[in-house]
Symmetry: D2
Subunit: 357 residues, 4 copies
């Protein structure tokens, strides 16, 4: 039951429900004497904020991070950092009709079954709102990793059938943030926005793929056997709401390659070993090679749609559902900072271990 | 560094190197008073055994499970179960040439970099030989889960460009075991075997996809937030050698669907809630729905090939590598029981927690 | 570094500093659908409250528990329960003089040494104020254990040289709460109060012993080897500020007994096995026997005293310290609920595991 | 249930039963490239060996350490180190009479109750024989700590009513090993040996106290809140068979002191801060001060005695027990290396964390 903490060296404990007083995290293991850039951190958190554009949900939250502990004079103490983000714009009444009706694609009935008592308002604990705390924690980890010259960059690489072209260089933050959908490629982004708008108008929803590239990671991160870098990343990232798959490097495409095509030949470059190609996505044997780590995350289309759906209620009766409540027609634009954040938490957890060796 | 244990309620600790005295596991948390079917267990372990057919490696090991503790009169004691599998047919001399040459696709140089001391023989700790212990542990978990009417069935669904057709019902064990490649569909299996033989003759290797279906799992397994069923499965399965991706239900294909297409409508069936379809792969909100859990695992082509490859050595010189050592031209046939085993360990870990509630 | 969580099944994460905004805990793993008695819980927390009598510190805090998550309509959700207790009466200026002076018996310089950045105000993270959160968490565990008919009763058994007589029956809550020092025996309590008052007047401090008796614990709690009941209790309780020792049953006195004197003969009683005596303190082989669990905790005298003391400052100079800041001349009266609470958290952690078997 | 591993950075997993094939441990997290002194290690393990003198049990085991993994060319690989120690001189028949008779002071009936299946031979999992593995693991940790100039020295300080005098300097290894009872003070040792011989002749047993001094530990080891150095030591050491209490520094005696007597004044010495006295036993606020860490462990008298005892059997009948089986009339002499070993494992676990900061 106690599965709300993640990490070994940097332990992040998540708490909160969508319409409770607040959501938050406790971050244990963060090194002491680190100066927090509060402004940059809040800006990062704002990237996940609801109501940021007209292709996201209308719920309007300031998502102001409130620090409870672990910081003194803007520097970390080495003690646990607790932070909360208030739930201000919760419209619980919107969910009254859902108290006994089980939404398709959601775990409503499973919570009733598993816990015998459920906060149905806004999805309660299963709401993606709780990722606000993760993003704040991840933003702190990102500041730490940046000091180690490690950068993480995610973007929306596919929405529905619309793909971004392959990029030769890692996209800049500016190009990713230049549009509402967070795809670095302007023309693709426009098509994606249009598709999301259309889905919203139709009362439907879309899924897609977020790609992430991590640069500057030193060789040697990740542990053989049960701490493989991609397994740890997988564990963190598969916990993000709506994620249905993850692949590294050439991923599922590599299954159609021959070894002679897929193997990255080792070669010296600037005094250290690199792959001449990077089919492996910067991870070999579960250990970072020093080359960019690349992975793709599959997001299913948002489960909440406005179209009428057939389902059952608590009494076991077949009913028609016309969903209320505000929601995103496509979760990917707001999921980009969540992917950045969870990647950062996974990497920092392993990095703190690596430093020790 | 200490990342050789996995699980919370059923903790499996792995040890051993490819050419050391033995590989093994300690299984802690297995319930007491459970009668082990030794014969069935050994048969299961034999499915992973090297040298079982002419499309696998020639290394010849009996892989006899030797029990060190935790069992008395064929029943578990509730204390840790330690078991070892001897390494008998290790030809360490084959690896003399590789002591200072770093094989493409392998973590040789990363071990040297990370540990400053390496057992290069047979890949040492990075060898898939260590999964022999995992398979023995998983075989025990499978016996336990079977008593709970939970079954796990994996098969090779794709090798290189060759796909099995979609199956209407879950394939039988007999159909899977009826051929060397472990694909239930006879004609596809024949094509796969032929492709693997050709790759072997060419000195090359092939990858592919293993599909797994879990049936009989009750609704309610998996924990919200950081213990989502698919995240835990992902963590276990991504640790299997050569795995580069995992997806659940419709997986990456779901990213191209609309919510109205992907959502599985809830409906009553035999007094309980089921999905009318199963796009989600039996997991919603990280919790099992009681419908079959389905996932795909992407395996890269075997890194060890006989074709000449360019690489570097310990001195940083560019060298040509003509690999010695016995290896599988395609790891998937022998990986099927590993997938079964690791899935069972993940499920049993969560199941023991579920029983408590 | 990440050592601010305790427990496996009931994971309690502590956060907060003495003069930060608040102290708190997150409780993960608490069963769902449990109705909280808020009034009883707050009353329990008030037992630890500063300023409750004239033999405790003058710091005046309401210690009102504020719930952030995990509860809906007064019942637990099965999700993490976060709670905070505000720091209202912090007089940080009192500590200005201590910023660079290292108090004897305190870890001031060790924090500077270990973390390079310290919140010196009120002891920061090392303050016993953070136990307010532990007590709230423990109060919840006590309510749960009471439903299982498990009771925990601690009292001050010794202050300085003043001992309570041996009690024939476990003291009642009423007798313990009937006086400021929380010793069930009235005459002894009066002597203890007098001694504490004298120490306060002298600017000095006193230590003592708290005894705890746990009744109703079923046989079978605790795990052989590294989860022995007394080892787990020891781990929890030795973390309480000022504790320097713990002993079970006859404890250090048992070292002077012969086996024939110490062994508790097994005998049937009401259909189950009991010890005819209880020298072992209700624990044999690390497992509860069903007889009362009894232990003693040694508390050193409060480190903060008003008498002039010699010490060093941050610059390494020898200085005289005349301590400011409000403090308890004897921590034991307020430590009684902390002992109850931490015992409850340890027991509930093991009990949840026991129920699973 | 899964409580057979201990540690976070150096994870030791224990397995084995007294009369099974072997006892052993897996050590995960041990740094790589460390050269093992096998001879010194075996010598250390021999200190715990049964049959070493005529005041110990007659069971005769070679206790030869057999390494299964983690070592190559006498140096650690950074992978898990598995080792086993065979059970050769198990006389299981001696225990036939005990299959259904529950020995006083032992957990026999609790195992039957808890596990429904028990290996009664030699105490099975509850036997102190399993500490052979702990001692081997600890011996390795001691070699590591010695390279860091950290030394651990335990000795028998009290047997029954016989105390060693206070020692001015830490006793030498030679003085401790100079006699069968492992007390540094020759005259006291002679009295202890005589008392143990008498108890053996009487068919009775004796308890006592082991004192341990750790020197060379740098300041800063241990984590505030739930990772206090003495709480971690307590957790490890209370798990040793027959231990009923632990106290640090002046321990229970400190409860009768005033703060002005107990506080250790800080003073500069050779450029760093030290306590002018060491009442605290080298730990303040849960963190090592750099002064010697000192603690006492209370051992109850051996539960197995030859005198006739009253007890019950599996059928619930009152029976007389005349114990068979070989045992120690006083466990303390052989427990000295166990205390050394478990202390070393606790310290190394925290030390690896400390190095990271």
């Amino acid at each position: 039951m106690a599965r709300n903490s993640i990490g070994k060296n940097l332990v992040v404990t998540s708490f909160g429900e969508s319409h409770g007083p607040s959501v938050g995290v406790v971050i244990d293991g963060f090194p002491s004497n680190f100066t927090i850039n509060h402004k940059a951190l809040q800006s990062f958190v704002n990237r996940r904020r609801p109501g940021q554009s007209n292709i996201t949900t209308d719920r309007n939250e300031l998502d102001q991070v409130q620090w409870l502990s672990g910081i003194y004079e803007d520097k970390t103490l080495g003690s646990p950092i607790a932070l909360v983000i208030a739930n201000n714009d919760a419209r619980s009444k919107d969910y009254d009709a859902l108290k006994d009706t089980y939404r398709p694609g959601h775990a409503d009935w499973l919570y009733d079954h598993k816990y015998q008592h459920r906060d149905h308002r806004g999805g309660g604990r299963s709401s993606a709102r709780i990722t606000a705390g993760w993003v704040a924690a991840g933003a702190l980890a990102i500041q730490y990793l940046e000091q180690q010259c490690i950068s993480i960059r995610s973007w929306v690489n596919q929405v529905w059938h619309i793909h971004a072209p392959n990029c030769e260089a890692t996209p800049t933050s500016e190009s990713i943030e230049s549009n509402d959908v967070r795809c670095w490629h302007v023309e693709t982004a426009e098509q994606m926005v249009e598709a999301i708008r259309q889905a919203k108008m139709d009362g439907d929803s879309l899924g897609g793929v977020i790609r992430c590239v991590i640069e500057g990671l030193p060789a040697g991160i990740g542990e053989p056997v049960f701490g493989k870098l991609h397994a740890i990343l997988g564990h963190y990232l598969l916990n993000i709401n709506a994620v249905k798959g993850i692949s590294f490097g050439d991923g599922f495409a590599s299954t159609k390659m021959k070894g002679s095509e897929h193997n990255d030949a080792w070669a010296m470059n600037n005094g250290r070993i690199h792959g001449k190609t990077n089919h492996s996505g910067g991870i070999v044997g579960g250990i970072s090679t020093g080359d960019p780590v690349i992975f793709d995350l599959a997001f299913k289309p948002t489960s909440t749609i406005s179209l009428t759906q057939e389902t059952v209620n608590k009494a076991g009766e077949t009913v028609e559902l016309n969903a209320q409540g505000r929601h995103d027609p496509c979760v990917l634009p707001r999921a980009v900072p969540i992917v950045d954040a969870m990647s950062a938490l996974a990497l920092m957890d392993l990095f703190l271990e690596y430093k020790k060796d």
